[in-house]
């Protein structure tokens, strides 16, 4: 029996620092390199650990597959995923994917899960560092008809039929049993990702990574990319930070009076 674990990762800029061009007054991203979304590193590690934990179930063929949707250069993060222990990786890249919102992205990822076939667990990071939505996991689950369990802090136990998870809620943890297949999103506290070993680094360097586009995934171009997206960004602007800070640098008494005023005058409003 085949048991595949799919890990969804995303390429993000290493810094989310944004500056304003003083001349044109427009937004500028600092020339930063692209990295694996930091939250996804925990997803990769958990995908590898789950495969390792299933190793003693006889006749179970397990495989951890890292998947990303992005431009051709995102191949780099897929190789990194292999160096972190993934068995193989697939790049989902096509000009018509450009401008996809979370719904369109989820259509591509769920089509990939179907093509990979025998996917029992899909793992995502909590959210991406650049978009911060955390929506792709639950949407992929919905499209595939799998249950979704978000904010997982521990995989208590699992076999080839079900999984027992510890899920962080607002003020408590729930222990949830789910029938496979499932989609989960994991928190930073779930594991400590390993450092790539030499063997895996070599494997990553030499791995051949397939690229799938709309043809391979058999999806309709009108369902992906900007045309297939339900939402559209109409304006992007810099967060107005308060530049009218009232600074008080000396005289403890004046400082205390000012804080007192700030706390209690405001309170009455």
């Amino acid at each position: 029996m085949k048991f595949k674990i799919m890990v969804c990762i995303k390429q993000v800029p290493s810094s989310t620092e944004i500056k304003i061009d003083p001349v044109t007054n427009t937004l500028m991203r600092e020339g930063a390199e692209n990295i694996i979304n930091p939250f996804d590193v925990y997803a990769i590690e958990e995908g590898v650990r789950i495969r390792e934990r299933l190793a003693d179930i006889p006749e179970l063929e397990t495989e951890t597959v890292a998947v990303t949707m992005g431009p051709p250069q995102s191949e780099k993060i897929l190789r990194e995923a292999i160096s972190l222990g993934a068995d193989k990786a697939v790049l989902l890249s096509d000009r018509s994917f450009a401008g996809s919102d979370t719904l369109a992205t989820s259509r591509v990822l769920s089509a990939a899960a179907k093509k990979i076939s025998d996917v029992k667990i899909i793992i995502c990071g909590k959210q991406s560092m650049d978009g911060d939505t955390g929506q792709v996991g639950p949407e992929v689950a919905q499209l595939l008809g799998f249950p979704f369990i978000g904010y997982v802090s521990e995989v208590r136990s699992l076999d080839n039929k079900k999984i027992l998870l510890k899920q962080l809620k607002e003020k408590k943890y729930d222990i949830i049993e789910a029938q496979l297949p499932v989609v989960i999103s994991v928190l930073k506290e779930i594991n400590n990702p390993r450092i790539p070993g030499l063997k895996n680094m070599m494997k990553a360097k030499n791995a051949s990574i397939e690229t799938w586009g709309i043809k391979e995934l058999m999806i309709d171009a009108s369902k992906v990319g900007l045309d297939g997206s339900a939402t559209r960004v109409v304006k992007i602007f810099k967060h107005e930070i308060n530049s009218n800070t009232k600074m008080i640098s000396s005289d403890l008494k004046a400082q205390i009076d000012e804080i007192y005023k700030e706390i209690f005058t405001y309170d009455k409003n």
């Binding site: 937004l27 008080i248 700030e262």
Partner: protein, 403 residues
């Protein structure tokens, strides 16, 4: 939709600088746009030669006249309606006035009718409900099916929920079933009344920029909203003592749907194994400490201040990583995002990741020794000083004034 670079491009590279998505390269002295492009139009605005143009597909006119009203998901925890849901009821009423439409509350709970009066006080024009049965907690799997069928029957034009852990997990699944758009974690909602479009503004890139997003061609327009962004004003009692006065269309019962739902999830147990039970978003005041606090014991100082203000303790990642205080207190990109009325940052330098979690607070007071600490840039009041002098003196003054 297409983006084109015209012949008159000089390859000056202005567009390169403004592109947040690394979608532009200069090849042979001309801008070339690649598939990273999300058509945000930043390059179009930046180009001094008007060389870049975005052409849209023919915009089809959709008929959304079936869709009416603003739906709000009412979240229940520990037998109460969440504050975030009540905040949304108030905001929904505001938006509804602009659209000249009604507000619908969507609720599923045990003993659901006990919440009707409060929803009525918060000016619900209609309640769409399901009784889950006494003592039973409905699981997420079932709840999303239930809400999906409620929404597809009632057809609100807008549907909003709090960006709580439940909201952020349920809403994407519902939006996906309904094949409509969803904007996560909004900090501002407004209306384009002519087009009946909800303008959804949210922080992105770690809170460094804001993006306004619309759902043009699908309904409902869905969004989750950060708790505490909108005010939970005190409300006027509706004065309606008997809900029957509202007429027979006021209540819509969907309890039957629950009977046939199968779920693949089973709740084994719930544990409250935090060292302290804390949800920072329950508090109006947060006193937060960073590296400058210097040690676990010194957090007692902050606690004293927080206690007299009825607030909670927050922390920067530096303080949590040093194990001075536990993770549920962490504020910032890898911790919680908070929107209190008052945020007092003590000995926090203000790394961009921390600012991402707190800069939407109403009022920010920062106390730090270093006059150049970035935290001062977001503060309303900046105190350059030693927290070990300032905080005890402040506590003393507050106590004196009180007595």
């Amino acid at each position: 939709m297409e983006i084109k670079v015209k012949e008159n491009c000089t390859g000056c590279g202005l567009c390169l600088k403004v592109c947040l998505y690394e979608a532009i390269k200069i090849v042979n002295k001309r801008a070339v746009i690649n598939e990273n492009c999300i058509f945000c139009g930043a390059c179009v605005d930046a180009c001094r030669f008007r060389s870049i143009a975005i052409t849209g597909p023919e915009t089809k006119k959709y008929d959304f006249s079936d869709y009416k009203g603003i739906g709000v998901f009412i979240e229940i925890s520990d037998g109460h309606i969440n504050d975030s849901s009540l905040e949304l009821m108030i905001k929904a009423k505001e938006l509804a006035k602009e659209l000249k439409t009604q507000v619908y509350a969507f609720i599923a709970a045990a003993g659901v009718n006990s919440y009707f009066q409060e929803l009525c006080d918060y000016s619900a024009d209609r309640i769409i409900y399901a009784e889950t049965g006494e003592g039973k907690e409905i699981n997420e799997d079932a709840l999303k099916e239930l809400l999906t069928s409620m929404i597809s029957t009632i057809k609100p034009e807008i549907f909003i929920a709090g960006a709580t852990s439940l909201g952020r997990s349920l809403m994407p699944a519902i939006a996906c079933s309904l094949e409509t758009g969803l904007t996560a974690d909004c900090t501002e909602l407004s209306i384009d009344a002519d087009e009946r479009i909800l303008l959804q503004t949210r922080p992105t890139f770690g809170g460094n920029i804001l993006a306004t997003i619309i759902t043009q061609n699908c309904r409902p327009q869905m969004a989750t909203v950060r708790p505490h962004v909108f005010k939970k004003n005190r409300i006027e009692k509706s004065g309606i003592k008997d809900l029957k006065e509202k007429g027979r269309h006021f209540l819509s019962d969907f309890s039957d749907i629950l009977k046939n739902l199968k779920t693949k999830l089973k709740l084994d147990e719930s544990m409250e194994d935090f060292q302290e039970k804390i949800n920072l978003n329950d508090f109006d005041v947060i006193v937060s400490g960073g590296r400058g606090v210097g040690g676990e014991k010194n957090f007692a100082l902050l606690k004293e201040l927080a206690d007299i203000l009825g607030g909670a303790i927050g922390a920067s990642r530096a303080a949590v990583d040093s194990e001075w205080i536990s993770y549920p207190h962490q504020i910032g990109q890898t911790g919680k995002t908070v929107n209190p009325k008052l945020y007092i940052a003590c000995g926090i330098s203000g790394a961009v990741q921390h600012l991402a979690g707190m800069q939407t607070a109403d009022r920010i007071i920062a106390i730090n020794k270093d006059p150049d600490a970035p935290i001062f840039k977001v503060a309303d009041l900046g105190i350059v000083g030693d927290i070990f002098e300032v905080i005890p003196a402040l506590v003393k003054k507050i106590k004196e004034e009180k007595s």
